[in-house]
Symmetry: C2
Subunit: 241 residues, 2 copies
């Protein structure tokens, strides 16, 4: 029998997820007030501190505004939330949101080449060596998911090489959204396994310290995945994970 790790999520975690989903789904309109902490505690059958911890965390994400003395109101996450919210939006209620996935793919295609160019300027031979090591791993990998994870490692190195904290944090946020959805996308991305050449070319451009070539190579690395994903999203929009 296949045993899977027991999930023991804390009470406040569950409240957090539940409220985030409700807010994101628009079950509580923007500007509207959430039930009071006491009321939530009563309705959910838990203690007020547990509710508070969840609410504080939600406030941290920018989804709601808690005001001392006043009610806790829902904010428009399109205006107030940051990129950290992306994972919660991308996979909502166990499903992938097609529109948002498309947006992720777009952003990847737009930002990736810039990162590659910076990495070419600053990475040096050490970075090229590390990238080439990943490329050899890619060559010997069959499993689609493992392959994608290696590709992520590749980008991880690239982002490090770009030596830009903003791009680093951007990448972290995007990866946090992308990685959980990977298993669901395995079938779609299976075709790419073995297409190592673009990665090799990009590594070569890094080694040469040539930003322009690196930028172009990065585009060729990203394009196949982008088109696979966009095609799949158009077809199966709204399927389960």
């Amino acid at each position: 029998m296949a045993l899977r790790p027991v999930t023991r999520r804390s009470v406040s975690d569950q409240v957090f997820d539940q409220l985030v989903d409700d807010v994101v789904d628009g079950e509580i309109a923007v500007g509207e007030a959430l039930p009071s902490e006491r009321r939530l505690a009563e309705v959910l059958g838990i203690s007020r501190p547990a509710v508070r911890e969840a609410l504080q965390r939600i406030g941290q994400t920018g989804l709601v505004e808690v005001r001392h003395g006043g009610a806790t109101t829902v904010r428009d996450f399109r205006k107030s939330a940051g990129l950290d919210l992306l994972p919660k939006l991308l996979v909502r209620g166990g499903r992938l949101d097609a529109a948002i996935a498309r947006s992720v793919v777009e952003a990847r295609a737009e930002v990736g080449p810039g990162i590659a160019a910076l990495a070419a300027e600053r990475g040096g031979p050490a970075l090229a060596v590390a990238l080439e090591a990943v490329v050899t791993d890619l060559e010997t990998t069959e499993d689609a998911i493992a392959w994608q994870r290696l590709a992520l490692d590749y980008w991880d190195l690239l982002v490090d090489g770009a030596d830009s904290l903003v791009f680093r944090l951007m990448y972290n946020s995007l990866r946090a959204a992308y990685e959980p959805a990977l298993p669901a996308l395995a079938a779609v991305l299976a075709d790419e396994v073995g297409q190592v050449e673009p990665y090799r070319l990009l590594a070569a451009a890094i080694r040469a310290g040539d930003p322009a070539t690196a930028r172009a190579a990065a585009t060729r690395v990203l394009t196949p995945t982008a088109s696979s994903l966009l095609g799949a999203l158009a077809a199966l929009s709204g399927d389960d994970l």
Copy 2:
């Protein structure tokens, strides 16, 4: 007389800021454990729930990992934190971090044109009209800070027009980091006041629905600010706000 809103920060807010600063400054090494909640409460002279709320919020940002039964340990924010952390990193202890500011400027220059291109594809005439309205406001504005805020409004419209949630959230995070630092940068950015032409050209490209032109125009919008900022940062690196 110039009245400014009274700031009354809650206890847990103060603890939050204090601990975030300590962690970001590296006063507690990565992998090391924070004092226990009980100990923190005792040392800080506050209650444990207050400490917990702060710690939970910090955990939400990815700066620390809290594990039931184990200690709360510091994570490497370069690996685990998302873009939402940027504001805390950019202005640390009342000072602007020059290296990070440079990174912000780079990212802006890299991502901005992509947003403009998408906006040109999807915005339509309605967007162009809104942009041109902001442009006329820009023409009649002398104050450097007000001018920069209008520029932010301009970009806000552009990001909306790009119709990409990921870019929207990215922009929110960047703006949250950028806006608080604006007053400090007013002097540096004073030269730009009146340079409205690039904004007008970009709006025209949007109206024409021409992504390539919009991309180029966006670069010309961003370049002056970028070079001003980079120059200023090189000179006064580490000055107070």
